[in-house]
Symmetry: D2
Subunit: 100 residues, 4 copies
């Protein structure tokens, strides 16, 4: 694991970047609430599964955009300062979990 | 696609069943809000990705429990009344989407 | 787990069915050999990854066709003879592994 | 896409590296042949699915080791020469396909 005392990205996320990710997560939060409603209304199981698949896909998209930014900033910066391999091992480890 | 005029499970979900699924979804909703907070606090990307993977895993679990119930009730009932193949085609179609 | 002393499908696969699946597997086998050649020729990593993704997708397709047949024959037969739940638990268990 | 006229890794794979990957792929090839035999012997569908899942897992492992090497060599080299973003976009694109 890469030592990250402060555990922040090397380049702080800008206000706009934060807003874009948070907005996507708010939409996902709304979709999760939507499924709760479907369960309470006893809606057809396959329709529920289609919704769950849609949320999973949306979360994967957010995850890939986070991973991309991480690689472009944190990993690239580690590579430039000669500590790339540790950062890449950490990245691959989390991508393995993520791609399950 | 199986014709489902009313789009409900053949056996209605009991109050307890609904509560169990809704509680799991509420926990997932809380996790999604947790990631929003992580983004706002500009937390380390890999930690965000670990959380997103956890939510994906939790959603898959809910999805499989919905699929299991669906197969035990709706699909089984279709099989018994001689309309199994259509119900199974529909199930496989949604499992394909879901396993991406 | 469903007790399957002889471990065969309830409806034996026909000669045509076997041939269709085996042909798809032979194509996949050829693709795996193709990647070996790519490695030996030191081909570009991303091209190798694209090929591996293609094989994974082809294997998933075969897997889903096996799962569909299994559900239409073995699971349906178990449902009709009143042992559906065990067969469905087994199916869900293997689908979980498969969708990783 | 990163322009790769010759389409080779920036650091050629060593003889040992090639051998290690090819051996893993040969094992996978053997597993694919094993499934063909299972189909010909009309073996139980769930056992076939377990084997297919095992091959998928083995292929994912090979894929991640290829992706790791690619990131440590090709992507890192691109980052150092100021062309990191293109290489990272290409990496993310193939990881998306791969994680399906």
């Amino acid at each position: 694991m890469v030592e990250q005392v402060d555990k922040h990205p090397v380049t702080p996320r800008s206000k706009d970047e934060k807003e874009a990710v948070v907005n996507r997560l708010k939409r996902i939060e709304g979709q999760v609430r939507g499924i709760q409603k479907m369960i309470e209304e006893d809606r057809y199981c396959v329709d529920v599964l289609v919704q769950i698949s849609a949320i999973n896909a949306a979360l994967k998209k957010v995850g890939f955009s986070v991973a991309e930014r991480h690689t472009k900033h944190c990993v690239s910066s580690a590579v430039k300062s000669g500590e790339g391999n540790e950062a890449i091992d950490e990245l691959m480890e989390v991508m393995k979990q993520f791609s399950k």
